[in-house]
C-alpha cells in the first residue's frame, strides 16, 4: 500500500481532521479571493467612475489681462480722455459735481474668443466642448417669475436669468450633478431659440415642454421687442443654485438655460455675445496630462485666458479607491501570513498527533520522505476539495464583501466631503461621485492565483511542520509509545 492510497484512506476515514482543515482552507481561500476581487473591483470601479465623471479643461478670461488691455486702450483716447478703442469706450459726463468719466466695454472685449475656443476644441483628445454665456437678465414676457413675497422688489430689476449653453449637458451645474432633466431634453449644439426652465417656474406658470416663452430686453424702455424661445426641457435641482447676485432675478428657480446665442438677443446685443466660460471635455481621462500639454501649445493669446484644471474629483476618487485597493492588498497579505501560521500550527498538531502512525511506518521500513509525501498528498486532497467549495461560493461571498468595502469607502468619502463642506466658501462644485460599474467578478486568473497561492501555502506549511518527521528516530517513537 503506497503513500497515495494511505493518504486517501486517512482523508476519508478521519472526517473530523479533514473537515477542520477543509474549513480552514476554504476560509483562507475565500478571504484571498475576496481581497483580490475587491482590489480588482476597486481598480475597475475607479477606472469606470473616473471615465464616467470625466475630466476637462475650463477656459476663463484672465482678469489681470483685462485691466492691462483697458490701460492699453486708454492710451489711444484723446487728450480729454474720451474715445473708443478695441471695444473699450470712455466718455465725459457732466454732472452736478462736475465732469465724470464713464467707461464701458463691448461684449467682444470681455468675451472668450470663438476662434480660440474652436482651436482648442480641435486638439486631438478633446471629445466635446461647451460654451457658457454670462448670466444675462431678461424680462419675462408671457410668464411670471418666482418671487419671494416677503422680499421688497424695489431694488430688483424684475428679470429672470438666462444662461446660454452650446451644450447644456456640459454646463457646470449639470456636470456637478445638481441639475438634471425632469422632462424633455437639454440644449444641444445647433439649437436656436430654445430654453430649459426650472420645474418651479414651469409649475407656477403651467408651462409644458413645447410651449413658447417670451422675453423682453430690460434695456428697451418701451419693451417693444419680444424674443420668443421654445421650452424643450424642464430641469430639477438637488439643491438650489447659488445666486450670483442678490435679488429674485438671480434666484435659482428663475434661471433659464437657453441656447448659446439667445441671451445676447434678449439683451439687445445680437452678434455681440459674452462667453464667460468654455469647457473642454477630455475623451480619455487617462490622457488628461498629454491633452492639456497639447492645448497649452496652441498658438493663441494665452495672456488673455486662464486654463483651469477640472479634474479635482479624479484625484479624490483615485485616493479613495487607492485606499480600498491598499486595504484589499493588505487583506491578501495578512491572509497569506495568517494562513501560513495557522496551517503550520495545524500540521504541527497533525504530525504530533500521528506520532504513533509515523513510528509504525518507519519501523515497517517506510522512507521518511514517503511519510512526508503522504501528509502532503492528504493536505493537497483536502486543498483541492476546498477549492471546489471556495470557487463555488466565491462569486456570492466576494460580491457581498467587495460591495461592502466599496460602499464603506464611498460613505467614508462622502462623510469627509460633508465634514469639509462648510470649511471653504467656494462657488466651485465638484462633480458627483456616483460610483458606477462596481463589477465584482472572480476571474480565472484570480482562481489560478488563489489556487497556486494556497498550494504553495499548504506545501510550505507541511514542509516546515514535516521537518520534525525527518528528525524522528523510529526507536524513540516506539519507546515513547510503549
Amino acid at each position: 500500500m503506497n503513500s497515495m492510497q494511505r493518504a486517501w484512506r486517512s482523508v476519508i476515514r478521519k472526517p473530523i481532521k479533514t473537515l477542520l482543515l477543509l474549513l480552514v482552507i476554504v476560509t483562507i481561500s475565500l478571504l484571498i479571493l475576496c481581497g483580490m476581487a475587491s482590489r480588482n473591483a476597486s481598480v475597475q470601479t475607479q477606472d469606470n467612475t473616473r471615465q464616467a465623471i470625466g475630466a476637462g479643461l475650463r477656459l476663463d478670461a484672465n482678469e489681470r489681462n483685462r485691466f492691462k488691455r483697458i490701460k492699453e486702450a486708454s492710451e489711444h483716447f484723446d487728450e480729454n480722455g474720451e474715445g473708443s478703442y478695441g471695444g473699450v469706450h470712455q466718455k465725459i459726463i457732466n454732472t452736478a459735481w462736475g465732469p465724470q468719466w464713464s467707461s464701458w466695454a463691448d461684449n467682444s472685449f470681455d468675451s472668450l474668443q470663438m476662434d480660440d475656443i474652436k482651436k482648442i476644441a480641435a486638439v486631438p483628445g478633446i471629445a466635446d466642448y461647451n460654451i457658457t454665456t454670462v448670466i444675462t437678465p431678461a424680462l419675462p414676457g408671457n410668464f411670471n417669475r418666482i418671487e419671494d413675497a416677503d422680499n421688497d422688489q424695489y431694488a430688483d430689476i424684475g428679470c429672470v436669468s438666462l444662461i446660454g449653453n452650446r451644450k447644456m449637458a456640459l454646463d457646470f451645474n449639470v456636470l456637478s450633478g445638481n441639475v438634471s432633466i425632469k422632462s424633455g431634453r437639454m440644449v444641444e449644439a445647433g439649437d436656436q431659440n430654445v430654453c430649459v426652465i426650472s420645474e418651479q417656474l414651469a409649475k407656477a406658470n403651467s408651462i409644458s415642454v413645447g410651449d413658447a416663452l417670451q422675453f423682453k430686453n430690460r434695456r428697451d424702455p418701451g419693451n417693444t421687442t419680444i424674443y420668443e424661445s421654445t421650452v424643450i426641457g424642464i430641469y430639477q435641482t438637488k439643491q438650489l443654485m447659488s445666486p450670483k447676485m442678490s435679488g429674485d432675478t438671480y434666484r435659482s428657480e428663475n434661471i433659464v438655460f437657453t441656447d448659446l446665442r439667445f441671451p445676447e438677443k434678449a439683451e439687445g446685443y445680437e452678434n455681440d455675445p459674452l462667453f464667460e466660460h468654455a469647457y473642454f471635455k477630455i475623451g480619455d481621462v487617462d490622457q488628461y496630462d498629454s491633452v492639456k500639454t497639447a492645448v497649452e501649445k496652441i498658438d493663441i493669446d494665452w495672456e488673455r485666458y486662464d486654463l483651469i484644471d477640472r479634474n479635482g474629483n479624479m484625484s479624490t476618487m483615485s485616493s479613495n479607491f487607492n485606499d480600498l485597493a491598499k486595504i484589499s492588498t493588505l487583506l491578501i497579505v495578512i491572509t497569506f501570513i495568517a494562513g501560513l501560521v495557522i496551517l503550520f500550527l495545524i500540521f504541527v498538531f497533525w504530525v504530533k498527533n500521528r506520532n504513533h502512525e509515523i513510528g509504525v511506518l518507519l519501523a515497517l521500513g517506510c522512507k521518511k520522505v514517503n511519510i512526508l509525501g503522504q501528509l502532503l498528498v492528504e493536505a493537497l486532497i483536502i486543498t483541492f476539495l476546498s477549492f471546489a467549495i471556495s470557487f463555488a461560493c466565491a462569486p456570492v461571498i466576494t460580491e457581498v464583501a467587495a460591495n461592502y468595502l466599496v460602499t464603506q469607502q464611498t460613505e467614508q468619502a462622502q462623510m469627509q466631503k460633508d465634514i469639509n463642506a462648510d470649511k471653504v466658501l467656494t462657488e466651485y462644485r465638484e462633480s458627483e461621485q456616483t460610483v458606477v460599474g462596481v463589477n465584482v467578478a472572480v476571474t480565472d486568473e484570480m482562481m489560478a492565483f488563489c489556487g497556486s497561492g494556497m498550494i504553495s501555502l499548504v506545501g510550505a506549511s507541511v514542509g516546515i511542520a514535516g521537518i520534525s518527521i525527518l528528525r524522528k528516530k523510529p526507536k524513540d517513537i516506539l519507546s515513547e509509545l510503549s
Binding site: 476515514r13 504513533h356 502512525e357 509504525v360 518507519l362 519501523a363 522512507k367 526507536k475 516506539l478
Partner: protein, 206 residues
C-alpha cells in the same frame, strides 16, 4: 547464520554512564525460534531494536547475512530483511485488517489473515473494533506479509490472556519451523520461553 550481534554495546546518549548492552555477541539462524528472556531493564527491547535496525549500536555491529546493517541502510533492512511484532500491536487505526497487512509487504492479505485465524467477517472492519488477540494476529499477519527472513517480536503476548498467548506462541513457532524464518521473541514469561528453540538470558548490567 542470518543475523549476528558482534561486540554490541549500547547506552543512551542522555546517560552515558548506564550501559544497557555490554559487548553482546550472538548469532541467529533461520528455521528457529529464539526467546530473549530477562528482567526489566536488562536491555531485551534495546537488543531487539538494534537487530531490527531501529537504531545502531554505540560499539560493535549487527551483521545481516555477514554484512553490517548500515551497508545498505537501516530503512532497507527494516523494509526487506526484518518484520516486527509489537506488544501493543501498532496497527494503523484508519486502515482495515487487510490494509494493515498490505503495509507489511506483498503477501496475500486474505490468505495470511485466514491462516492466522481471522475470520472473513473481520477483514474490512476498522482494526480498533477487533479484540486484542485479533489485533495481535493482524500484526503477525502484517509481519508475515513481508518476505523478510527475520521476524522480531517484542513481548507479543504481553497484552493477551493465557490461551491467546499460547496460540500466538504456537503460531510464531510454526512460522519459524514451517516457513524457515528466524523468529526472535522478547518475553518475560519463562513458560513461553521454554517453547523456543534457544533462549538467550539477559541480566541487568551492574
Amino acid at each position: 547464520m542470518i543475523l549476528e550481534a558482534k561486540n554490541v554495546s549500547y547506552y543512551y546518549k542522555s546517560n552515558k554512564e548506564a550501559l544497557i548492552l555490554d559487548n553482546v555477541n550472538y548469532g541467529f539462524d533461520c528455521g528457529k525460534m529464539y526467546a530473549i528472556l530477562g528482567p526489566s531493564g536488562a536491555g531485551k527491547t534495546t537488543l531487539l531494536s538494534l537487530l531490527a535496525g531501529l537504531d545502531v549500536p554505540i560499539k560493535g555491529q549487527i551483521l545481516y547475512d555477514g554484512k553490517p546493517l548500515t551497508s545498505k541502510g537501516l530503512t532497507a533492512h527494516r523494509k526487506y530483511h526484518s518484520s516486527l511484532v509489537f506488544q501493543n500491536y501498532n496497527l494503523i487505526d484508519y486502515l482495515t485488517p487487510i490494509e494493515n497487512v498490505k503495509l507489511g509487504g506483498k503477501g496475500n492479505p486474505e490468505t495470511l489473515l485466514g491462516t492466522i485465524g481471522i475470520g472473513k467477517e473481520f477483514w474490512k472492519r476498522n482494526v480498533l473494533q477487533l479484540s486484542g488477540g485479533q489485533q495481535q494476529r493482524v500484526a503477525i499477519a502484517r509481519a508475515l506479509a513481508s518476505e523478510a527472513k527475520l521476524l522480531l517480536a517484542d513481548e507479543p503476548t504481553g497484552n493477551l490472556d493465557d490461551a491467546t498467548a499460547w496460540d500466538v506462541i504456537d503460531l510464531l513457532k510454526r512460522i519459524a519451523h514451517e516457513e524457515n524464518k528466524c523468529v526472535i521473541v522478547v518475553t518475560h514469561n519463562k513458560e513461553l520461553a521454554k517453547e523456543a528453540d534457544a533462549v538467550i538470558r539477559m541480566e541487568t548490567h551492574t
